[in-house]
Assembly symmetry: C2
Homo-oligomer: 213 residues x 2
């Protein structure tokens, strides 16, 4: 990709308020966006998340009133709920080590030092009360990467922070699961009638947000 192509995509992107319900993301493009989610980098590689792709029209309909009445859940081609592994237990460290062993062929013994370092980090985060905040920040890496990947493929998105996460958990049946809703993102194609599409993007001047030292 050239710098010009990247900037064209990022300037084209905006938080799509009105999607065209008739336009669906082709299967190969959606599959690549799901794989992009899987490939998202995270702290230590721990991937403290699950991504719920909502196919059910009934679930989507229930989401609208708990999303400040926004209609993206029902109008967008695809709708993804980003959920963190809540109060991530130490067993997740062992699960990740097991995955490292399976993928890389390393022995668990050779990874013992790394395992204990991660376990110490997790315990510190739990003791100091920022374990879930840490997981939430990782989720936002996924959100940022997803929006940029989608834009690069010409797919519109709308990040949905204005939602009731507890109500989402109830609707999705997550309340008693290890996962909790953090944020969501709609994906699809903008409606020709979305007046927001042509509005000027409001960003501060580069000199006001980037400082060379």
């Amino acid at each position: 990709m050239t710098p010009d192509h990247l900037l064209t995509a990022l300037r084209w992107r905006y938080a799509t308020k009105q999607f065209d319900p008739a336009q669906k993301i082709p299967a190969d493009i959606w599959a690549s966006l799901e794989e992009a989610l899987v490939l998202t980098p995270s702290s230590f590689g721990l991937q403290p998340w699950k991504f719920f792709v909502i196919d059910s029209a009934e679930l989507k309909t229930k989401m609208v009133p708990v999303s400040w009445g926004q209609t993206q859940p029902v109008e967008a081609s695809h709708f993804v709920v980003f959920a963190r592994h809540h109060d991530m237990p130490e067993t997740e460290i062992d699960r990740f080590i097991a995955r490292m062993v399976a993928v890389t062929g390393a022995t668990a013994d050779s990874l013992a030092g790394y395992r204990n370092m991660m376990a110490g980090f997790r315990q510190k985060a739990q003791n100091e009360g920022w374990l879930n905040a840490w997981a939430d920040r990782q989720i936002y890496i996924a959100l940022g990467s997803f929006m940029t990947s989608a834009a690069a493929l010409g797919v519109d998105t709308c990040p949905m922070e204005g939602l009731d996460p507890v109500a989402y958990d109830t609707i999705l049946g997550l309340t008693h699961s290890p996962y909790r809703t953090v944020v969501a993102c709609a994906a699809g194609y903008r409606s020709a009638g979305d007046v927001h599409a042509t509005r000027a993007k409001v960003r501060y001047e580069a000199a006001d947000v980037i400082t060379h030292l």
Copy 2:
């Protein structure tokens, strides 16, 4: 960009441990990555951040010992510190409204409702103690988008969470500024000798992180 190109870039990306100090990112590519940072979406568009690009060799050298001894600050072509607007005051809402007026031509009066909604959100976040956590999550959108944008351009990155933010603030002179270090990211080109470059990427199976409902 095609789905194949996107996935090739994201699979190629890894947390680069050893950069080639001799390889600098060309000016036009770096300029586009800075603009990508400026274009990062954020909650309400408030951009509660500043990005510090460290050009000074002296500053970079000081960063190594407060980055768990990692050498990316001095070896990478570019090094960016992502800082949040700490305890973001209500005046930032007015600054953003002024920017909206300047960019879109709307009147401040017509934006009064939006302004007050944002001010209410900010006050609630402050009262409930999650104003800085909110800003930090926005920072991670920028981090995720930056890493993906860089990969799309063939630029290597390494996210740096393992750093001492208070020491960074001291080194960068931010301690008494409105900004505080959250995370950093090195960018450049991998060294031919980085053994991490060829290691298998460890991600869970798609079926374990993506669930259709």
